[in-house]
């Protein structure tokens, strides 16, 4: 197994401290603290309904937290809606692909951040040209720039979402089961992309149910159970069974990071 090469001596890229969110009586996220360093992939694991998506949505501004602080580069960040998160260069690739089915790839890629002409009208031609450039790098075979994304395959749709994050220079990337809807080949493509983004110093939170994939892609893993943090471990120092034990039994292994 590869050794842990992440330098964690400086300030983390993002730190979420003591995050809490309740829906009615349910404590979906209950006092969770996680962080990620530049160039690091942190897996967020847990059983269904553990609170992974809610935790990440508080970072992306889609859900407003009840309490807790978010620090970006050591500074307190005020994130209350998706626009705030975008300002901190936090981009999200959602579990259920968040694309408008009736629009084409470039309209989706630029949604909310359209390029405009000097008159203030949307510049579709320029956006399409930019989309061709960026998508051409990620999926060279992609041709269907004119069709609504409803007509694209799961992998093609996911590349639109990933291209969006790459195009807008994400510093922090949240991926909520990015390969859940994908085939083998497309999953491999996403894995390669994660490696590539790591090299550029981007910090990534990756939610994934595939322990094997977590071992292969992540540096550390934070495990949640019933809204609480079981613990954070260095994936190179634990076995798959250790991880499963944390997820299912909420039991921290002897040798923790």
């Amino acid at each position: 197994m590869a050794q842990d090469k992440i330098d964690r001596s400086g300030t983390p890229l993002v730190e979420m401290r003591n995050m809490k969110k309740a829906f009615g009586g349910i404590h979906a996220v209950d006092g969770v603290t996680v962080d990620v360093y530049p160039g690091e992939v942190v897996g967020v694991l847990g059983h269904n309904g553990a609170g992974k998506s809610v935790l990440m949505k508080m970072l992306s501004g889609a859900i407003q937290r009840d309490s807790g602080e978010i620090y970006v580069n050591g500074e307190l960040a005020d994130i209350n809606n998706p626009r705030d998160a975008r300002r901190y260069q936090i981009e999200t690739i959602y579990q259920y692909l968040a694309l408008a089915d009736n629009l084409d790839a470039s309209a989706n890629l630029f949604l909310g951040r359209e390029l405009v002409t000097p008159l203030g009208l949307v510049d579709d031609a320029r956006m399409e040209a930019e989309t061709r450039k960026i998508m051409g790098r990620l999926t060279p075979n992609f041709r269907r720039y004119k069709t609504p994304v409803a007509g694209l395959s799961g992998g093609q749709r996911q590349s639109v979402a990933i291209s969006r994050a790459v195009y807008f220079n994400a510093k922090i990337l949240i991926m909520d089961e990015p390969t859940a809807a994908l085939g083998v080949e497309e999953t491999r493509m996403v894995a390669e992309l994660i490696d590539e983004l790591k090299k550029q110093g981007i910090g990534i939170f990756l939610i994934d149910h595939d322990i094997h994939q977590v071992k292969a892609l992540c540096d550390r893993a934070s495990v949640m159970k019933n809204g609480q943090l079981v613990g954070t471990v260095n994936v190179h120092e634990v076995t798959e069974d250790d991880l499963l034990g944390m997820i299912i039994l909420g039991k921290k292994p002897e040798k923790a990071a």
Partner: protein
């Protein structure tokens, strides 16, 4: 409403390639085709009375009011809402404007009757009324999360009767003479004015085609063959100038001409004739259709309207304020109801209690026949206008043939359901 049959015979294939090269959406072609067939059938059936300048003129001015509101209904339905209150809102706006020009400006402001400022003041009052009420609906729907169906069903009852209250149930008229020029027959551009308008409109349309082509070339995207551009430009020019020619051919009756000369203190020369030309109400529709199309296709607002209709969550996660967007959409709808109220009351030359009754259904039907999907995210402005035109032609055609009103409604109802059914089949086949 077209039905692209799966035929592989060579001649059919060739014609399909022809239309493919033009890159016009086949749905639009289908609708135009259906409209032309409809007109020809009625023309034959009425022994040549349907496609006369006089009837075309009447058809256009009858369509304007519903068509204006239908363009706004496209935005409402695209964002997955509905507005059942447009006819009632039209009545309230009309009542406000009627009271403004018959009571407020002549008596309270002491401007007297037919003062040049009366019409502009009345129109502004109407539009402000429409925007405020529309925005209020939008706020109830977007911020308080009350379903649009309920809010506007309530609005239907409230505004219809607010209009009644404002006028104490009376018919208010005659309206200001300047105001009446927005109604159709009482305000046309004349033959020369209409030709100038037609040529300007054609020039603008061709300039747009050209700039779109240049833009594509600049970004090295494929463009359609040059001959296809020429055919398209030719068809657009023929449609615009053809309509102008027909409207110009509708001659003003001699009695009326004599009166017009008398009003100017002149005597009409012997054998003088003049055509009506394009009504100002049609000009208003053309301007609104252009603005609404630009908003839909070329502005962020339009992009967000369609994105929200396609996937509200995606729109919200992309940082779009979907609540405020709802307020904007209904405010636009309100403004358009007010403009329709100007056209509708000016055409009648008075405000009546039942003005706009059942318009909500005509407007929704026009948008839906025009290809706006109730599931949201899909719809075009030109489709809605064509939908309004098809409905109006159907209705007046049947009236000319002598079909009684109840039977007309039965046919219109069946056509509405059938049109949507054909659309569903069409969308399934093309996967659009």
């Amino acid at each position: 409403m077209s039905d692209a049959t799966q035929s592989h015979t060579p001649p059919k294939q060739a014609s399909r390639n022809f239309f493919q090269a033009l890159e016009i959406d086949t749905r639009l072609l289908g609708m135009i085709g259906a409209f032309i067939v409809l007109c020809l059938v009625f023309h034959v059936w009425t022994d040549g009375r349907f496609l006369t300048p006089r009837n075309v003129f009447n058809l256009t001015i009858q369509t304007v009011s519903v068509a204006i509101m239908a363009t706004g209904m496209v935005f409402v339905i695209v964002t997955r809402h509905i507005d059942l209150s447009v006819g009632a809102l039209l009545a309230t706006c009309s009542a406000m404007m009627a009271m403004t020009q018959t009571v407020v400006t002549p008596e309270w402001f002491g401007l007297g009757l037919n003062h040049p400022l009366t019409a502009p003041i009345a129109v502004i009052v109407g539009i402000v009324t429409g925007v405020v009420i529309g925005a209020f609906h939008g706020w109830l729907i977007g911020y308080l999360l009350i379903p649009a169906f309920i809010v506007t069903l309530g609005g239907l009852l409230v505004w219809r009767n607010v209009a009644w209250h404002l006028t104490k149930g009376q018919t208010i008229g005659p309206l200001d003479s300047t105001f009446q020029t927005f109604g159709g027959i009482n305000g046309t551009m004349g033959e020369t004015g209409s030709w100038i308008f037609g040529i300007l409109a054609t020039g603008l349309a061709i300039a747009l085609l050209l700039s779109a082509r240049r833009n594509k070339i600049r970004h090295e995207f494929p463009v359609k063959p040059l001959w296809a551009e020429f055919v398209l430009a030719g068809m657009v020019a023929a449609a615009i100038l053809g309509l102008v020619a027909v409207l110009n051919a509708y001659e003003i009756p001699e009695r009326r001409l004599v009166r017009m000369f008398e009003a100017r203190g002149e005597v009409m020369p012997e054998g003088f004739t003049a055509g009506y030309g394009v009504p100002y109400s049609v000009l208003i529709l053309v301007v609104i259709a252009t603005i609404m199309t630009v908003v839909a296709q070329r502005t962020r607002l339009g992009r967000y309207i369609f994105a929200t209709g396609g996937n509200p969550d995606a729109a919200m996660l992309s940082g779009i304020n979907t609540r405020l967007l709802t307020v904007k959409v209904f405010a636009i709808m309100g403004a358009l109801c007010a403009i329709s109220a100007v056209v509708a009351s000016a055409r009648l030359t008075f405000h009546s209690n039942d003005i706009g009754t059942l318009d909500e259904l005509r407007v929704i039907a026009a948008a839906v026949i025009g290809g706006t999907a109730l599931a949201g995210g899909l719809g075009t402005i030109y489709g809605a206008i064509l939908g309004a035109l098809i409905m109006q032609s159907l209705q007046s055609g049947m009236a000319m043939v002598g079909v009684e009103a109840p039977y007309q409604n039965i046919v219109v109802g069946i056509v509405l359901v059938l049109a949507v059914f054909i659309d569903i089949i069409y969308r399934k086949r093309t996967g659009a």
